[in-house]
Every structure is written in structure tokens, then in C-alpha cells.
């Protein structure tokens, strides 16, 4: 994957470093995620893999270094991070569905809010300039239309995962597997360029792991760019184009699944794989 042209880079970290006090969690990591790539991050607990993932959308602010998303350094505090996070989907270990909202509201909340706000800002600008007025005319939409479209899209996504009958249910009535699939769909509703999965199956009962992995597999097949922190080695091997093995805050070894799982070169990788496989 290294021979790809630069225009295909989705996320690039340069000298990404994260410290908690004196504890060095990420140690000057340079890494590139390309368009359409499926990257799995494995490694022992405490190796910094979740922190690395969370730095990719600045959920954790890096202590040093840069994170380029679409060519913009989103680690820069002056950048409006919200604008970029829209395009980076994130799925959490503990699902984090909004407990006070129904399934449908969970999915619609961000698209509707952001769409309506964009429209209102355009309307406001149109009061002052002619150019903005033309732009507003081009948008050719209304708040009602935005809501209707978001609703339609949400229902379509729910249908895809076979949960449209749960649209008006609250998250507390759902199983873990259902919650996680809805969380994935909630991220998809924003049409992200890349999806970050933070141990998406670690909090699930064993019999529900399959349905979530199936959905992620589908996304992979559809060509979604993904970064997955996981303990499911079999899944990582099957879905990923590239495996990153992290240990002690650095990417100790990386390569294709075959390289990492069948002939690891790094001593720590060997130890880790021996322990988990």
C-alpha cells in the first residue's frame, strides 16, 4: 500500500506524541492511512492503541505532533475540529448511544442539527451579500426538507441492518449487539470518509460479536476506509489490508496480515501473538 500517490492519503500523523503527565503514551508516531484501506491495530493492553485511535479525530488532543485529515492539521487548536469530525466516524467500545433519544433520534441528531445550522448561516449571510444569496438559492432546501431527508436516510440505514422496527425504541431496551450496530449506523449517517472503531466488540456478549463483525465486514467490502483497534485476531486477519502492532507507545511492527501473523519479525510481536493465538 506504500506506493500509492499522496492524494489518496486520508489521515496522516507526524511525530504524534501523547503524554499524561510524565507518562509517555504515544512516542512520536508517523503513520499514514490511505483511501479505502482497512487498518487493524493490535497489541497488548496499555500499548497506546486506543489512545492512538482517539488522537486520529482529536478525541484526545495530542501533546505534540500533527494529525493531518484531508491535508488539514486537525491537532491545531485554531482549526474548527467539529467540521472535520463530521467526516470521521467513530465507534466506541461501550456503544455510547444517546440514552435520552430514540434510535431514530440518535441517528438523525447530528445530520439534522448540522444541516439546519448550515442553512441558517447561509440565510444569514444571504441578507448581506449577493453572492451568498446565489449560494443559498443553489442549496435549494428547507429545514423541513433537511429533516425529512435525514429521517429517510436513517430509516434506510436501519433497514440495512434489519432494525427498522426499533426506530422509536430507546437504547436501554436493546441488546448490546443491536446497540453497537446502531452506533455504527449513526456514524455512517454522516457519510464519513473514514471510520474509527475502538474495540467495537469488546463489551459484547460472545453470541453478539458475530452480528457486529458482519456489519463491519460489509462496510469493508463497500470500500470504506477503516481503522480498527481490536482483540479479534481472526477478524483482523480476514478484514484488514494492513496490521499495526503497537507496543510501548510505538508501532513496533506492521505489515500485511500474512506477514504479521505468519512470520512476525519483532520479538514482542511474536510474544504477543503466542499469548493470544
Amino acid at each position: 500500500m506504500t506506493g500509492m500517490p499522496d492524494s489518496n492519503i486520508v489521515i496522516e500523523t507526524r511525530q504524534l506524541t501523547k503524554r499524561y503527565g510524565s507518562l509517555l503514551v504515544l512516542d512520536h508516531i508517523d503513520e499514514v492511512i490511505h483511501e479505502g484501506e482497512k487498518v487493524a491495530i493490535i497489541g497488548p493492553s496499555g500499548s497506546g492503541k486506543s489512545t492512538f485511535l482517539r488522537c486520529l479525530n482529536c478525541m484526545e488532543d495530542p501533546t505534540e505532533g500533527a494529525v493531518y485529515f484531508d491535508g488539514v492539521n486537525i491537532a491545531d487548536m485554531r482549526v474548527d475540529i467539529n467540521k472535520h469530525r463530521e467526516h470521521i466516524g467513530m465507534v466506541f467500545q461501550s456503544f455510547n448511544l444517546f440514552n435520552n433519544k430514540t434510535v431514530l433520534q440518535n441517528i438523525m441528531l447530528a445530520p439534522v442539527y448540522l444541516g439546519v445550522r448550515r442553512l441558517r448561516i447561509a440565510k444569514l449571510k444571504a441578507l448581506f451579500s449577493k453572492k451568498a444569496k446565489e449560494k443559498l438559492a443553489q442549496m435549494n432546501t428547507s429545514e423541513a426538507a433537511i429533516k425529512a431527508q435525514a429521517r429517510e436516510n436513517a430509516l434506510k440505514l436501519l433497514r440495512r441492518i434489519g432494525l427498522e422496527d426499533k426506530a422509536d425504541k430507546y437504547p436501554s431496551t436493546l441488546s448490546g449487539g443491536q446497540k453497537q450496530r446502531i452506533a455504527i449506523v449513526r456514524a455512517l449517517a454522516m457519510n464519513p470518509r473514514v471510520m474509527l472503531f475502538d474495540e467495537p466488540t469488546s463489551a459484547l456478549d460472545p453470541e453478539m460479536v458475530g452480528e457486529v463483525l458482519d456489519l463491519i465486514r460489509q462496510l469493508a467490502k463497500d470500500g470504506m476506509t477503516m481503522v480498527i483497534v481490536t482483540h479479534e485476531m481472526g477478524f483482523a486477519r480476514e478484514v484488514a489490508d494492513r496490521i499495526l502492532f503497537m507496543d510501548g507507545g510505538i508501532i513496533a511492527e506492521q505489515g500485511t496480515p500474512a506477514e504479521i501473523f505468519d512470520s512476525p519479525k519483532n520479538e514482542r510481536t511474536k510474544q504477543f501473538l503466542k499469548a493470544v493465538l
Binding site: 467539529n82 469530525r85 466516524g89 467513530m90 466506541f92 435520552n100 447530528a110 442539527y113 431496551t173
Partner: protein
């Protein structure tokens, strides 16, 4: 007579104690009744209360107490939520750190001085200086609002902390700004958690309004004070006043309890 009642057999000592206390209470009541010339006092109270327009004033007083407590709570809730949300913003920016300081000072001032002092300073000094002319009742609403805002901010902060941090993260992850994530996702959940505590805050507020007479607002307390001083007879007005407060507070407490049970049930069924 070998068939004794089992209830009597088991509880005779309790019954004896209750009977003794009741007898003492009756004795005391009779004593008071004659010694303090209760009948005359009652007649006087009835005269001032019914025939001298005491009851219309009481209605105004109750209305004012309710106005000050209810709107005080609403304003307090708005201010308290604002302060609590401001205080949980991570202090990366200079502006945030200043906002934190302002909030801390605000809370320290309003929790660190008696409400009577706040009323006096506000109504007689600060409002006139700022050329704000409010009626006594409106001034009380404002000051009680500011005051309970300080207390509710602490309650709300606890409520916000009780909501799983993942909720905020998930909202931020889809691109919602901090303020929106807070107001649409975190605060509604926090609000549900602190509803019973807010009910208790409301009860406290109702009781605290008893001091608004200091700035000339007529509430329940003021109204009975005046009734007492008009008739030169305080005993019955004050007892009736206490009774009215107990009934009001007990009613609100019952409502809060009902609400708590409802919430617990909706948690189970969700």
C-alpha cells in the same frame, strides 16, 4: 375472662404510653386555652382575618410566595445550568479559564452570604445604583433566582458528572459542538438524575421566601405579621402561618416523591 385480645396483650405498654401522652396533651391544651384566653384570641383572629380583609391579603401573600419560589427556581435553573456547563468546559483557552473564575466567584458570593443580606443589598443598594427599578416582588424573584442559581449550579454539576463521559464523546465524535452536545445530550440526562434534588431545592426555596418582608414584599409570613400587629395578638396568626407552610411543603414533598417513583419506573421500562 380468659379470652384476652391478642392485640392488647402484645401492645398494652404502647397503648399505655400513647394514652398517657394524649392525656398530658389534653391537659396542656386545656391549660393553655384558659390561661391564655384562647376563645377571645380566636374571635379576634377571625374578626381580623374574615371581616377585616385578612384573607384577601393572604391570597395575595400566597400568590407572591408562589411567584417568587416558582420563578426563582426557573431563573435559578437557567443560571445554574449555564454555570454548571461553563464549569465543565476543559480549561484549554484563556477565555474558559476566566469564565471558570467568574463562576467560582459568583457561586462563592451567593452561597457565602445570607439571603436576607442579598435581598437588602440588592433591593436597597445595587438595583438603585444600576437604575433598575423593580417592584419588591420582582426584585425578590430576581434575587432568589440569582441565589438559587448558585445552589442549582452545584446540583447540576453533580448531575452532569453522573452522566457517562461516553455520551459527550459520542456527541462530539459526530461533529456536534460542545455546547450542543451538552444541551441536547448531556444536560437532559443530568436533569433527569437531579429532578428529585431539584424538588427539594424548590421546597427550600419556598421556605426561604419567608424573609421577603424585609424589602416590603407581601408574602404569607408578612401577611400574618401584619395581621398580628394590627390586632395586637400574635399567637393564632403565627400558629396558622406555620400550619399553612407545613401544608404547602408537605404537598410539594408528596409531589416530589410521586415524581421520583415515576422516574424510577420509567428507568425500569425505559
Amino acid at each position: 375472662m380468659n379470652k384476652t385480645n391478642p392485640f392488647l396483650k402484645k401492645h398494652w405498654i404502647d397503648i399505655l404510653v400513647v394514652a398517657a401522652i394524649a392525656a398530658l396533651a389534653v391537659l396542656f391544651a386545656v391549660n393553655v386555652y384558659y390561661q391564655f384566653n384562647f376563645a377571645k384570641k380566636w374571635d379576634l383572629f377571625v374578626y381580623y382575618f374574615i371581616e377585616n380583609d385578612g384573607y384577601t391579603r393572604l391570597i395575595t401573600g400566597m400568590k407572591n410566595t408562589a411567584l417568587i419560589a416558582v420563578f426563582g427556581l426557573l431563573i435559578g435553573f437557567a443560571i445554574g445550568t449555564l454555570i454548571a456547563v461553563l464549569r465543565v468546559i476543559p480549561p484549554y483557552k484563556k477565555l474558559t479559564r476566566y469564565a471558570h473564575k467568574v463562576c467560582t466567584v459568583y457561586v462563592a458570593i451567593f452561597r457565602g452570604t445570607p439571603i436576607v443580606v442579598q435581598l437588602l443589598v440588592g433591593y436597597y443598594i445595587l438595583f438603585p445604583i444600576m437604575h433598575v427599578s423593580l417592584s419588591p416582588v420582582n426584585a425578590c424573584i430576581a434575587i432568589f433566582g440569582f441565589n438559587s442559581g448558585a445552589y442549582i449550579s452545584e446540583i447540576m454539576r453533580g448531575g452532569i458528572n453522573s452522566v457517562d463521559a461516553g455520551q459527550l464523546e459520542a456527541a462530539r465524535a459526530v461533529g456536534l459542538p460542545f455546547s450542543v452536545a451538552m444541551l441536547k445530550v448531556v444536560v437532559p440526562q443530568a436533569f433527569k438524575n437531579i429532578l428529585p434534588t431539584l424538588g427539594n431545592e424548590f421546597i427550600a426555596l419556598v421556605k426561604e421566601t419567608a424573609v421577603v418582608g424585609y424589602v416590603g414584599a407581601v408574602d404569607i409570613t408578612k401577611c400574618f405579621q401584619d395581621l398580628g400587629s394590627n390586632s395586637y395578638e400574635y399567637m393564632i396568626p403565627y400558629l396558622v402561618m406555620a400550619l399553612i407552610y407545613i401544608v404547602i411543603v408537605a404537598t410539594i414533598a408528596a409531589l416530589v416523591k410521586l415524581m421520583e417513583r415515576r422516574l424510577a419506573r420509567s428507568d425500569r421500562h425505559a
